[in-house]
Structure formats: structure tokens, C-alpha cells
């Protein structure tokens, strides 16, 4: 069992996301995370999918993705040098005079930014590989995480190579 990172170029058309998501659920593939947005080519989008599975299963995922007409290219970048990033917004209980200072210190260690200061809470914005966000989340749990929002992982190959192939 491995976590694979797939970078998928698709037509920027309505319905594409539901085709991709529908294929995953229909065939019982578990999506760990999925992030979609426009990309360097105007009429295309890029979807980054992280998915769990052994090699045969991942092979099936890739082939089934490729079968979708609106999918232009599937790149498994797991074994290529790449950078992965995710952004999270975490609303954590941090009462002044009580735990606020500690929370701010943790934020500092993780290079998380404090983007909102409430009377009883702070909102932290953190960017990094998903493991880093997991670690921060775990630490903050003891103070009380009121809300947590994650974007899903996005990834890009290092160097001048691109998943579009040029």
C-alpha cells in the first residue's frame, strides 16, 4: 500500500469533476485528497489526486482515468522529484491569558500565519506538505480546534519538466 500523487490534465468543461469523482466511487477507489483548478493552458484544468493502493490498484485507477474522454493526460508523479503543498485554515481556541501564547508559539514554529484574532479564538493559516498540516493539527487538538479547512494537496514536478509534457 502506497500513497500515490496523480496530476491529471482535463478539459475545463462542466461535468468533468463529477465524471472523475464518480469513476472513483463507482470502482471503489478511495480518494485521499483532490484539488482542482485552472492551469497554464486556458481551456484545461489540472486535478491533483492523492490515492491509496497497491501497484495493481493504482494502475487500474490510472487506466480508468485515461478512459474518460475529458481526461487529457494522467501523470503519476509519485516516483519523480516533486513538491507537494496544501493550505489549511485552522480556527483554534486560544483564550488571552490562558493558552493564547502557547498557540502563537506553536504557530510560529510551524511558520503558520495568524490571519484572524478573535476574543476567544485564533485562525491559523498554514502551508506545507500534508504531513506537516497533520502534525500541526494534532498539536492544536489539545487546545480545541473549532474548525478546520484544508484545500487538498497540489503538487508540481521539480525543475523545468511539466506534467503537460512539454
Amino acid at each position: 500500500m502506497n500513497v500515490h500523487t496523480l496530476s491529471v490534465l482535463v478539459e475545463n468543461r462542466s461535468g468533468v469533476l463529477s465524471r472523475v469523482a464518480g469513476m472513483f466511487s463507482r470502482r471503489g477507489f478511495n480518494i485521499e485528497s483532490l484539488a482542482v483548478g485552472t492551469c497554464e493552458v486556458p481551456e484545461m484544468s489540472r486535478i491533483t489526486i492523492t490515492v491509496h493502493g497497491d501497484d495493481t490498484r493504482i494502475e487500474q485507477v490510472k487506466k480508468q482515468l485515461n478512459k474518460l474522454i475529458d481526461v487529457i493526460k494522467v501523470s503519476d508523479i509519485t516516483y519523480h522529484e516533486h513538491v507537494r503543498r496544501e493550505l489549511a485554515l485552522i480556527k483554534v481556541v486560544a483564550n488571552p491569558g490562558s493558552t493564547r501564547a502557547e498557540v502563537m508559539q506553536i504557530a510560529d514554529t510551524f511558520r503558520a500565519q495568524i490571519i484572524d484574532v478573535g476574543s476567544k479564538t485564533l485562525i491559523l493559516q498554514v502551508v506545507g506538505p500534508p504531513e506537516k498540516i497533520d502534525a500541526l493539527e494534532k498539536l492544536l487538538r489539545q487546545y480545541g480546534v473549532k474548525e478546520l479547512v484544508r484545500t487538498g494537496t497540489i503538487a508540481v514536478l521539480r525543475g523545468s519538466k511539466t506534467t503537460a509534457g512539454e
Binding site: 478539459e11 462542466s14 461535468g15 487500474q60
Partner: protein, 557 residues
């Protein structure tokens, strides 16, 4: 400028479509108005499900893409089973549906249903057309997608305003190219080379051929390849007809209700050459025990089928016909396989797929007699259940595209409408629908269509007054507890008569030949109600979860 409806109908004609199957309704009125004086022939069915099955039967009999048309909401929803049936068997089809006007989309408007959403898992692709000027392009793409690569159904949803509005005359399309769709047609030469050396080394090879061979019209190449290499061929339910039943190298069907000799050959072979087949569970039984001693070559147009259910040693992605042609070109000399073929012939003699002949009106006898009378000519369509399996076992098919059945989905009610479609694709050969008493009642309303267009389909009902295949499982695995599988007697001849179709009821074995001859000699449609032995079972049978050589029934005499 032209209306969307006109662009659509002209586009269909330009695609070479001559016949479509459909049912009208509110939002498709503009399309129907255009059909009114169009050279495009429209067949009015009695239920949209039948329109989809008829388009499917048309496609299977001809190799061309079948077309069906339905209105929005209930009409479109009624197509779903037919689309799913075509999808499971990789049949090229374009389904056209009306949709509420674009301004009302998503508003729960009258007769609105999200048909592209509903059919997403059972279509190869689908379109919701939002602009009149896109109709022609979409149509071209849809036919391209449906008919190439691994074929399948494509749905085009057409909102009412899109077909009513006008757009400039479409400029004839050039070659269609879709950047997300480039099916591999040619097999890789190096893989083909490797396959040939594996074949040369093999002592006990078997070819396992499926619907892909029929879809790519590779039957002549398959037969030549088998003959040149001396390799016996077993076919799946979908591959029947790829090699004549009476060919010395033919092993018949394999799998759950396959011949003992095919299943034994698979179990003992040292090389399995899979062509256009997909290791379906009804074929493999317990998949770990399928071809346990063999290296496996898998030729398929769909890369996703490689390694999906069974790991293979050598994949070749490409069109069956193209790959077989390449292999034939490179064949040098043959290997002596007489020992292996002798062993197989021994099994054939020892465990024949026999037809009981004991004076009792048994369903197998009906099929066997029909087979003898037609001598392999004619198109045989089936419903689903025991009737389907007995036909697959007993009818001697001699040509591809003469056996039309719902394999992957196993759709009861498929046969009668598919037979109608097959007739419009190929009007000359006689078309028979082999039916069960349960299945025929799932689309029996199509008697109306048959009469209206004088479609000479002969319906052979193997009437056991049971949902026989389910009853068989209850008998064997549920202690004979026949829970909701008994059907009361129905006067099928009377129903046929009410529609204006001739028919005959048959109660004894000695009437079988005469009755079938009467049907063959009738010019128009005919319905035969055979009151067969009620608790006859389909044997041999591989119980669920068993290995395919662990069969019950059809033992040594």
C-alpha cells in the same frame, strides 16, 4: 441558417444513419416535426427501453452504430436499462434525448431529469448540448467515440431551445481529433513477436475469444490463425459465432454453463491466448483457479482490461483483427499439437454437450431442432435465463453477428426489441427471439411495433411457467424453496392474436419440428408457445465460487 432539429437530422443522415428507434414527447416535438418528411426512417416502439435495445440489436447485427431517441424525463429514464446493456457489452450506440429548455435547466421543470448525470456510469461519454451551433460537432464526436476503440453508448442531451433555435449551416467536419481520446489500434510489434515465440513454445495452448473478436470483425483471421497453429478455440457467450460451432478446433463456450471440454482445456492448458475477452466472473469461476498452469497472453483494445481481474504475462493492447493479422503475417511453420488435440477430442467424446432425446418436450430439443432446420443461417436473439444458456449450448452458430444476447448486464426483456433492431439491420435472414415466459413479458408490448411495421420476427417461448434460471438456483442451493419464481400460465398465442400476430401452442415433443417449420415458412411475425418440461436445468454448471473444472451435470455417460 437552420434549426437545430434540421441540423441534427441532416447530421444523422450524413453519418450514414438510415433507421432510428424512438418515442416522442413534448421537448422532442421539433425533432419529430423534422422527421415527418425526412428520408430518415423512424421506428415507433412502444416503450423507450425497446428503442434502446432495438438500436443495440441493430448495431450487433450490422456492426454500425445504432441510434435511439426519447423525450426528456420519463422517456430518457426509460432508456437507461438499454444504455447500460449496450455499455456492458461494448455496443456502439448514440442515444438522443430531449431536455427542458436551457433556461429551465436545474429548476425541476416539468419532465426534467438529469439524464447525463443518471447515465454517467453507463455511457462511454455524454454531452449536454447548450448551443445550436454545437450540434453538428457533438454529433460527429459522438459517432466517433461510440464506434471506435472499445465501442460503447454515447448520450446526447438536447434542450428544447437548442433544437428550436437556428444556427448557420454547419461546415462539413474534417477528421475528428479529440486530445483526450486516442485509442490504440495497432498492437505493439515487439509484443506480437513475443507472443509468437510463446505460442511456438507452448505444448497445450488454448485461444479464449470474446466479444472483441466479433466487434472487430476478426472472425476470419481468428479461424485462420487457429488452423495454422492448430490451437483449439473456446468462446465466451459474447464470442459465440466467431468460429463455426462444427469447426474441429471449436470447443464451444467456456465458463459457468460452458462445455466440460472447454473448461478442462482451460484448466490444463500451458498457454492461454485471450483475445477480446475480459475474464468475467461468469467465465473464470474462482479466478485463482482459472488457467492455473498457463502463461497468459491478453489481446484487448482497452488497456484497462489488462490486469483488471487476472494478472497476465504478455499484454497486447490493440484491435483484435489488427493484431491477429500481424501475427498471421509473421507465422512461420506450425507446431505439432496432435497430442493435445487428441486429448481434447477424447474429452469431447466423453463429455458431449448432448441434447436429451427421450420423447419429452424439453427446451433443449426445441433449440436443437431449430438449429437443424436453419442450419446455422438466420439471426438468433435471446432473452435472459435458462432460455439463453440452452440456446448458447445447443444452437450451432456458423457466422459472427448471428447470435445476439445481453451478456454483461443479462437484461430480461432485451430479446424481442433487439430482434426488431436486428431485422432492420439485416432484413434478409430470418430473425428468431428465443424467449422465456418471464422475459417475454418484460417487453411484450413490442408485439405492437412488430405488427405496425410487419417485422417478421419469430418468437420462440420456452414456457416453463417459472423464472427458470432463478428457480434452478433455488432448487440447487436453496433447498427447493421456490420463493416467488413460479409464474401462472399465460395464453401467449391469445396475446399474439389480440395484436394480430399468428401463433401456435406446442405441448408435445413430436410437434416441435412441424411447429418450427410453420414459423419459418410464415412470412410475417409468428409466436410459438412451447410448454416445456418445467423443472429442466441447465447443465453443466459451475457453482458460484468453484473452479471451472468443478462442474455439476453433464458427467460421463
Amino acid at each position: 441558417m437552420k434549426t437545430g432539429a434540421k441540423i441534427l437530422i441532416e447530421g444523422l443522415l450524413r453519418q450514414g444513419v438510415t433507421t432510428i428507434f424512438g418515442y416522442p414527447g413534448g421537448v422532442v416535438l421539433p425533432i419529430y416535426d423534422e422527421l415527418y418528411d425526412s428520408p430518415l426512417r423512424h421506428i415507433l416502439v412502444r416503450h423507450e427501453q425497446a428503442a434502446a435495445h432495438a438500436a443495440d440489436g441493430y448495431a450487433r447485427a450490422s456492426g454500425k452504430t445504432g441510434v435511439c431517441l426519447a423525450t426528456s424525463g420519463p422517456g430518457a429514464c426509460n432508456l437507461v436499462t438499454g444504455i447500460a446493456t449496450a455499455f456492458m457489452d461494448s455496443i456502439p450506440m448514440v442515444a438522443l434525448t430531449g431536455q427542458v429548455p436551457t433556461a429551465l435547466l436545474g429548476n425541476d421543470a416539468f419532465q426534467e431529469s438529469d439524464i447525463t448525470g443518471i447515465t454517467m456510469p453507463v455511457t462511454k461519454h455524454s454531452y449536454l448540448v447548450k448551443r445550436t451551433e454545437d450540434i453538428d460537432t457533438v454529433l460527429g464526436e459522438a459517432f466517433h467515440i461510440a464506434g471506435t476503440g472499445r465501442q460503447g453508448p454515447v448520450l446526447i442531451d438536447l434542450p428544447k431551445d437548442v433544437v428550436t433555435n437556428e444556427a448557420p449551416d454547419p461546415v462539413p467536419q474534417k477528421e475528428i481529433s479529440l486530445r483526450g481520446y486516442n485509442p490504440t489500434f495497432k498492437g505493439h510489434p515487439r509484443q506480437i513477436e513475443k507472443a509468437l515465440s510463446m505460442i511456438a513454445e507452448a505444448e497445450r495452448p488454448v485461444i479464449y475469444a470474446g466479444g472483441g473478436v466479433i466487434a472487430s470483425d476478426a472472425s476470419p483471421e481468428l479461424i485462420r490463425f487457429a488452423e495454422m497453429t492448430g490451437i483449439p478455440v473456446t468462446t465466451t457467450l459474447m464470442g459465440i459465432g466467431a468460429i463455426p460451432c462444427d469447426h474441429p478446433l471449436n470447443l464451444g463456450m467456456l465458463g459457468m454453463h460452458g462445455t466440460r471440454y472447454a473448461n478442462y482445456a482451460i484448466t490444463e492448458c500451458d498457454l492461454l491466448i485471450t483475445i477480446g475477452a475480459r475474464f468475467d466472473d461468469r467465465v473464470t469461476g474462482r479466478v485463482q483457479s482459472f488457467a492455473p498452469n498457463a502463461r497468459i497472453i491478453h489481446i484487448d483494445i482497452d488497456p484497462a482490461e489488462i490486469g483488471k481481474s487476472k494478472m497476465v504475462d504478455l499484454p497486447i493492447v490493440g484491435d483484435s483483427r489488427h493484431v491477429l493479422t500481424c501475427m498471421l503475417d509473421r507465422l512461420t511453420g506450425t507446431t505439432d499439437r496432435s497430442l493435445w488435440n487428441e486429448k481434447i477430442n477424447h474429452w469431447k467424446v466423453e463429455y458431449p454437450m448432448a441434447c436429451p432425446d427421450d420423447g419429452v418436450l424439453r427446451p433443449q430439443l426445441v433449440i436443437k431442432t431449430l438449429s437443424d432446420l436453419l442450419d446455422g443461417e438466420g439471426i438468433i436473439v435471446s432473452e435472459v435465463g435458462q432460455n439463453q444458456m440452452w440456446t448458447a449450448q445447443q444452437f450451432c452458430f456458423k457466422h459472427p453477428r448471428t447470435w445476439i444476447t445481453s451478456g454483461g448486464l443479462g437484461t430480461m426483456g432485451y430479446g424481442l426489441p433487439a430482434a426488431m433492431g436486428a431485422h432492420f439491420a439485416r432484413p434478409d435472414p430470418p430473425v428468431f427471439d428465443i424467449a422465456g415466459d418471464g422475459s417475454i413479458q418484460m417487453n411484450i408490448q413490442e408485439f405492437g411495433t412488430i405488427v405496425q411495421y410487419d417485422i417478421p420476427v419469430k418468437v420462440v417461448i420456452l414456457n416453463n411457467m417459472y423464472l427458470g434460471m432463478v428457480r434452478q438456483w433455488q432448487e440447487l442451493f436453496y433447498d427447493r424453496r421456490y420463493s416467488y419464481t413460479e409464474l401462472p400460465s399465460v395464453d401467449f398465442v391469445g396475446i399474439a392474436a389480440a395484436y394480430g400476430i399468428d401463433g401456435m401452442r406446442v405441448d408435445s415433443a413430436d410437434q416441435v419440428k412441424e411447429a418450427l417449420s410453420a414459423a419459418i415458412d410464415t412470412e410475417g411475425p409468428f409466436v410459438l408457445d412451447f410448454r416445456v418440461e418445467r423443472e429442466e436445468n441447465v447443465f453443466p454448471m459451475v457453482p458460484a465460487g468453484a473452479a471451472i473444472n468443478e462442474m455439476i451435470g453433464g458427467e460421463k455417460k
